[in-house]
Chain length 127, copies 2
DNA sequence: AGAAATATGAGACTGGTTTCTCATTTATAA
DNA sequence: TTATAAATGAGAAACCAGTCTCATATTTCT
């Protein structure tokens, strides 16, 4: 069983109020808002337990450190801005992925990551 | 300028004769065939230099350690078998990836990784 | 062949992330 | 409210990929 604590609530709130996956460090910073002084070990422990309960998912994006997001966002993919390095959630998906593999392979899931320049960086705002 | 050495040739040969991306460790093991006692530092140094010359590409697959492959294989993606963890090169690509992002984002490249069960594992051969 | 540039192997080292330890605190159940 | 299980913070420790050092060896140029 797991107990509900101020720290764990703060961690979940941080994940939920942000629309992109966060690193443990970022989660700690966000959670400090609700729960000053929260430790990094606490963040790791809580993430581990949330993942075991399938409330949180690990998101691994090539070229970026591992990050986490709530599990209830449904199937989606990610966009990484090459300038500001921010990760954005994308909605929608593509068809025909199974046609890429030989017939005797079975495809169970997939990751798609797009890279480019986000709106803010593209307008010359800071790029 | 860079010199051609037994070690570097062994590394390139290993990358070329294997049809999937390899980790530095795997590269070292493969290169030992041609060049016994080759050091890991040598592998890293050579990879760095090959990447600078654009002869070799870094392939980062979520959930797997960084690996490398020759740069002349053209645009392709990867399949990871959840049973044997092998990485397979896939040929072909999909359309309409740009439609996933907002209009003011620009997409410059993408990674697609499929996960599932490969032919060998699926036949019950060892799965 | 001789000189200069580059590469090598071994192992120490680095930088960063994740886990562990342990004394203390907090949450839950009876 | 008491007992028990679980969680916490701080820092130490473990872990690991990748880099560096340095004495030596190899390659290339002339």
């Amino acid at each position: 069983m797991s107990y509900s604590t101020r720290q764990r609530e703060a961690i979940l709130n941080t994940l939920r109020r942000t629309d992109r996956p966060l690193t443990p460090q970022e989660i700690r910073e966000g959670a400090s808002r609700d729960c000053a002084g929260i430790g990094l070990a606490t963040v790791y422990r809580a993430l581990k337990s949330f993942m075991a309960q399938k409330d949180v998912l690990l998101v691994e994006i090539p070229g970026n450190p591992p990050c986490y997001e709530p599990a209830d966002r449904g199937h989606h993919h990610h966009f990484v801005c090459d300038r500001c390095r921010h990760v954005f959630d994308l909605h929608g998906c593509v068809q025909d992925l199974d046609t890429l593999v030989p017939r005797d392979f079975s495809v169970q899931r997939h990751d798609i990551t797009l890279y480019g320049v986000c709106a803010a960086c593209g307008t010359g705002a800071d790029g």
